[in-house]
């Protein structure tokens, strides 16, 4: 795990050295810079040593020193690849996966990405042909930002590091701020700053001197999950288990201690149970809970850990911790993020880092195996619509919507509502923040308040698949939108800010292709994730029969009334977000007052504003850091 960066017009490596410094938290163990003086290209890397601790210095080259590489992440199948390369006459000097990239490039050229299984962002410089190749993993686990200049390019693992390279001169992009407010994250390939792009998951980028623009090419995208005749269930369960076991094993290869993030849910319990079976020594598990709110998963997690014979560690994130840590975290992160689970994930990552360098987690299970209730509810809605007169449904939905809704009533409203399904999906995942834009947006965002960009974005990515299968299309949509740009970005940054590598067994290419190939129905039975539940019942019967997991609700509403109230008040009074005219302070204060008084729960709106405001103040140098 590392941070990487590079620049094509940096003959003394100064810009890359500056970017590298800003990536220190991603790789505290080592740093390196390579400069090709003749062509002016520089590559940089910061390294967190996980594989071949002694021999893994980056950047790294082939024997002729004409192909150089930097890698952030892990290529899990590198031991097998190494063997192939040796058989084909390559001589490898280190035990690292970075070196494998260099030799695979010699063998397959740009198509080397098809040989890789893992989470990665890399840069390869072919000094002979004067060609730069950037690549990003299939699901978008590892980040890669870049900015083009006339005749050149610079790139870095994090936006804040890219800004140190001297090529980012754009301010906030109004469109990206709008998207952030609606989604709570900036969907790729855009970034919050104008002119900055993210290399999309499953893509490579080629750059050569003299070319007008770099060339982008997709090499993989998640397969569509479409209805098909039912397979024998036992076969599907067995195949899921075989693939998941293989994936867990591959993610347990490390030359450093390794742990498991454990919540009370199916995904992490299954991973922990498989890891425990595969480990000769007791596994280390890590859990976080809150001292406020109704749901505390720590008890379930503790019982699971005990049953697995794990060495268990848990942490309670108190109101005091929230006041002390959350504002700094939201400000420090490289792009603004409004995912309320970020503080807890960061806290448990720090806890784990005191014991291990690598953890494995359950990211991706919900999106690949049909875990979100939305898939079932919106599929029902589509079925219902074929039978119910539209006007009747719409008036039912209006009646339900007249009151603030929660839980099943709200789901029922989505069921009856006659609007296009994708609009309902958007409302569901974004808590209808779009409706507030006209009131909240200040002059700098005024042109965005009526924009349909969020819906257009989703429509383009769904690309007609809703006609074939509503749940299948929504699962795939989440895999290309929410998963890379929220879930995985959150895991990467929360881990990296604690210098901890998080690995994700569910995001194995073979497993994802298999999960799509069985069709949505096989997943959505039994309340979703039917195949994972069945595998869990096989490998860890003690966990089945427990009540299903309740959604893990972050007590954000309480935090905004309690430990974060002073920060929010200060933001509303002096934050750049309001002073610069992005958000109307009066309108935001109105919501904050209603929220503070307990009349309404506006946490789903105030949290993104707080996250964006703190991040912007840090960027403007206003928060004293």
């Amino acid at each position: 795990m590392c941070g990487i960066c590079g620049r094509t017009l940096d003959p003394d490596g100064a810009a890359v050295a500056a970017m590298n410094r800003a990536l220190r938290h991603r790789g505290p163990d080592d740093e390196g810079v390579y400069v090709d003086r003749a062509s002016g290209l520089a590559l940089g890397a910061r390294r967190l040593s996980v594989i071949d601790v002694a021999g893994g210095h980056q950047p790294l080259s082939n024997e002729q020193a004409d192909v150089w590489a930097v890698l952030n992440g892990e290529v899990y199948n590198h031991p097998g690849l190494r063997e192939h390369l040796r058989e084909r006459g390559h001589r490898l000097a280190t035990g690292t996966d970075t070196e494998v990239l260099v030799h695979l490039y010699e063998e397959y050229g740009d198509d080397l990405v098809h040989a890789l299984e893992g989470m990665f962002a890399f840069a390869l410089w072919d000094a002979r042909r004067r060609r730069l190749l950037l690549g990003r993993d299939r699901f978008g686990e590892k980040p890669l930002f870049y900015v083009e200049r006339p005749g050149g390019l610079s790139f870095a693992s994090e936006l804040s590091a890219l800004c140190q390279g001297g090529d980012v001169d754009g301010d906030l992009s109004a469109a990206a701020v709008d998207a952030f407010f609606v989604f709570g994250y900036v969907p790729g390939p855009d970034a919050i700053l104008r002119g900055v792009r993210q290399l999309p998951p499953g893509h490579v980028l080629m750059w050569e001197p003299g070319a007008e623009r770099p060339a982008l090419r997709a090499y993989w995208s998640p397969p569509s999950c479409e209805p098909r005749p039912a397979d024998p269930r036992a076969e599907l369960v067995a195949e899921t288990r075989r693939l998941l076991e293989g994936s867990v094993r591959s993610r347990m290869i490390a030359d450093v201690p390794l742990g498991v993030f454990l919540s009370g849910g199916v995904d992490s319990t299954l991973i922990a149970a498989l890891a425990a079976r595969h480990s000769a020594t007791p596994i280390k598990t890590f859990t976080v809970g809150y001292d406020t709110g109704e749901v505390n998963e720590t008890r379930t997690a503790r019982a699971t850990a005990q049953a697995l014979g794990a060495e268990h560690h848990e942490l309670v994130l108190t109101a005091g911790d929230v006041a002390a840590r959350v504002p700094a975290l939201l400000a420090e992160i490289d792009q603004p993020r409004a995912d309320q689970a970020l503080p807890a994930l960061h806290a448990v990552a720090k806890l784990a880092r005191s014991e291990v360098t690598v953890t494995i987690g359950g990211e991706g299970a919900d999106e690949l195996f049909g875990g979100y209730p939305r898939y079932r509810w919106l599929a029902r809605a589509a079925r219902l619509e074929r039978h119910l007169p539209a006007r009747l449904g719409a008036s039912g939905a209006r009646a339900l919507n007249a009151n603030p809704l929660a839980g099943r009533a709200r789901r029922l409203a989505y069921l009856l509502d006659g609007r296009p399904l994708l609009e309902r999906h958007l409302d569901w995942v974004t808590e209808r923040r779009s409706d507030l834009r006209a009131d909240l947006y200040g002059p700098r965002l005024a042109a965005e308040a009526g924009a349909q960009r969020a819906l257009d974005d989703l429509t383009a990515r769904v690309d007609g698949r809703l006609d074939t299968s509503v749940p299948g299309a929504l699962m795939r949509l989440d895999q290309v939108h929410w998963l890379p740009d929220d879930v995985l970005a959150k895991a990467d940054r929360a881990g990296m800010l604690a210098s901890l590598e998080i690995r994700t067994p569910y995001l194995h290419r073979d497993l994802a292709e298999f999960a799509a190939s069985v069709g949505p129905d096989a997943h959505l039975e039994a309340g979703g994730k039917a195949l994972l539940r069945a595998v869990l019942a096989d490998v860890f019967p003690a966990a089945s029969g427990r009540r299903p997991k309740t959604a893990f609700r972050v007590p954000a509403a309480q935090w905004l009334r309690g430990p974060l109230a002073p920060t929010l008040a200060r933001q509303l009074a002096e934050g750049a977000l309001y002073a610069e005219g992005w958000i109307d302070a009066g309108a935001a204060r109105g919501l904050a007052a209603e929220h503070a008084a307990g009349r309404r729960d506006w946490s789903q709106v105030l949290w993104p504003l707080l996250a964006l405001g703190l991040w912007l103040d840090r960027r403007r140098g206003l928060d004293g850091s």
Partner: protein, 375 residues
């Protein structure tokens, strides 16, 4: 009294239904000249015409029935046929006919020969164990199946490995294709055949053989997903799904292609994968080198580095390299193909049927059968 002993052949799988087991049963019966056989099998589309043209003694049962009902009908009607036919032995072509075979054997005091493949064992382990215990001899189609038979309770001395065979093609002059062509022939219904892994390997093959074309012969429920994945990976110009084709067309593809591949893997629990893979022999008969998985019955069907290359069937990079190397080295590909063709001459169906006859005749004679491994 017949000059040849009567043998009742019970099988749910018989042509014109497609598939390797169907073919095997048919060829054994057709070439077993020293036995007087009567086949009891299920009815199906095109069966009447096939039987009329085939000149074999075939009784069809269970018209319109399918699945378990057809199998139950087959077992029931087999008893009546046995009473009429008075066989000297029963050849049970599948474990699902083992119950009828056992009853007939007990009633008529005659021996039972039970065929065992592999994929049928996983879903019905108890029935497989019953069949293995009750048979006087078990025919395993590969070393892998041999182990499965013993694991399911067959006494080792009663298990005989007789490899399946192949129809030797008539000499022809069809040239290999101009375009580097990789061929797979299989129904697209079972994941373990490895089409998914070939699709993952294809971009790596294309990296070194840019105009490679993968011809996928066969049809089934996995096809739409494979086609979608091919397009989503930008492989539409390198893959052609030709669907189910006639035997002639299939032979033509075997002549046109440069490498045959089907990297069958051992599936997860639930079924036992490739028991042998007759299609590998068919490829060899057309002098086509084979790239396949180094597990299961394939180990008997393909001789590593002699008639083909065996690789870890889950490793798409190994598969890609093996196929690419053969496409780029026509002399080696040809050497493997020619060696394969030489080997399968000993596995022509008449020779295979002779081994089965020897076994059945020895049992009828009450001598301890000794059957040479057909390899």
């Amino acid at each position: 009294m017949d000059p040849e002993p009567r043998v009742l052949v019970l099988t749910p799988d018989f042509p014109p239904a497609p598939g390797g087991i169907q073919l095997l049963m048919h060829r054994i019966v057709r070439h077993a000249d020293r036995l007087h056989t009567r086949v009891v099998t299920v009815d199906g589309p095109g069966a009447r015409g096939f039987d009329a043209a085939g000149g074999l003694d075939v009784q069809r049962v269970g018209r319109g029935a399918a699945g378990r009902l057809a199998v139950a009908t087959l077992n029931g009607r087999a008893l009546g046929e046995a009473a009429r036919f008075r066989p000297a032995a029963v050849l049970s072509g599948h474990i699902v006919t083992a119950p009828a075979a056992a009853l007939i054997a007990a009633a008529l005091r005659i021996p039972v020969v039970q065929y065992l493949y592999a994929s049928e064992v996983g879903p019905r382990p108890r029935l497989a164990a019953f069949a293995m215990r009750r048979a006087d001899a078990a025919v395993a189609i590969s070393a892998y199946t041999h182990e499965l038979a013993i694991a399911h309770g067959a006494p080792p001395a009663r298990v005989h490995r007789i490899l399946p065979g192949v129809d030797l093609p008539a000499p022809d002059t069809i040239p290999r294709a101009d375009r580097p062509t990789v061929l797979t022939i299989s129904r697209l219904s079972e994941r373990y055949k490895g089409h998914d892994v070939i699709l993952r390997a294809l971009p790596l093959i294309r990296a070194r053989v840019p105009d490679v074309e993968w011809i996928v012969v066969g049809d089934g429920p996995l096809r739409p997903g494979l086609e979608r994945n091919a397009v989503s990976q930008g492989l539409q110009d390198n893959v052609r799904f030709v669907g189910s084709v006639s035997d002639d067309q299939r032979d033509r593809w075997l002549r046109r292609a440069h490498v045959f591949t089907m990297p069958s893997r051992l599936p997860a629990v639930g079924s036992a994968g490739e028991g042998f893979g007759i299609v590998y022999l068919e490829a060899a008969a057309h002098e086509l080198p084979v790239v396949a998985g180094n597990v299961g019955g394939t180990l008997d069907a393909v001789v590593h580095e002699q008639t083909g290359v065996l690789v870890d069937p889950a490793d798409h990079v190994a598969l890609a390299d093996a196929i690419t190397d053969l496409l780029l080295d026509p002399a080696r590909a040809r050497a493997l193909g020619v060696a394969g063709a030489r080997r399968v001459r000993e596995l022509a169906w008449p020779a295979v049927a002779r081994r089965v006859e020897d076994l059945v005749l020895a049992l009828i004679a009450g001598t301890r059968p000794s059957v040479a491994d057909g390899a």
